[in-house]
Symmetry: C3
Subunit: 130 residues, 3 copies
């Protein structure tokens, strides 16, 4: 069964911590794999440090730095940089589940990566028990 | 069982839409996960917008922009930029299968990403039913 | 069951070939999927060419080139470039297992990607048989 997490983003480019929502989706599963999938083409999922919110800001700032806002883009909707960022970070990832919990590293948090917001977005979550 | 999709690429760097081939590989599976894996080191798989072909061209153009063609590369075959692009976009990804179909987003298509063509390439597909 | 591979890195940025360690983790499994997960926020996993070690050096060199060492980083620990690289290459990947072996491409090797070393690191490995 696939669950859907809804994410409301507030800025054009932004990482939104969705770890708690994902943790709720694995409740009741003692061990297995939790798969996350972003069905959008101008957004993605990034797992990185969440203790200091400055890290998420740095990640977004550098992506905005080396994927140029202005370039000879052929796609005329103006959001080609967002499509490039989504292609780089990918639509899906996974986290192991052990003893009923997401087996993230000490500093890891799961972020919805918005590259063309603000918008209301979805993340699909599928948990496969062992 | 692992199925193999063969892809013929025509340019040095190019995104080739393989969604229909992948869709055929999941036929007969009502729900599960479809895994895609590229066994090459100068190519990969990207899921992004396919409605406007200009998006794929923009993605490739920007990759070619920030991964330099000329650099103090130590690998002497001349295709180091392709290895870098393959390392960035990764060899594998997955798509959920639901009601017998790939659960892609509205605008998502699956592309074989060629970074050192033209060549004949392979993609491994494994479908794990629930 | 999740196995843990320990990796000792020796440089600040470095790709360490862990293919043999991963191959040992799949011993006894005839077919399935081997999942690899890096629980660190300044490291990752990259699958790319291992025949010529110069390729790994080129990949690291280009990552160090386009993710700037100096930038208006807000995170004060000085390792924001490492967080960016980890966000780009991702924490996890997978390889199919067939006939008791990792189904890697001819030139593919699995690397632990260190972006903020030298350190002692971990990789989680989970093998799901068919």
């Amino acid at each position: 069964m696939i669950k859907t997490i809804t994410v409301r983003t507030n800025r054009q480019t932004e990482l939104v911590d969705i770890t708690n929502e994902v943790a709720r989706a694995v409740e009741g599963v003692s061990s297995g794999i939790c798969y996350l999938y972003c069905p959008h083409t101008t957004a993605g999922i990034i797992i990185n440090e969440g203790a200091d919110p400055a890290v998420a800001e740095d990640v977004i700032a550098v992506l905005n730095h080396f994927v140029p806002w202005k370039f000879g883009y052929k796609h005329l909707e103006g959001n080609s940089p967002a499509h490039v960022k989504a292609s780089l970070t990918g639509p899906g990832t996974f986290v192991f589940v052990e003893e009923g919990r997401l087996k993230l590293g000490t500093w890891q948090r799961i972020f919805f990566a918005e590259y063309d917001g603000p918008r209301t977005r979805k993340v699909y979550v599928k948990v496969v028990p062992d």
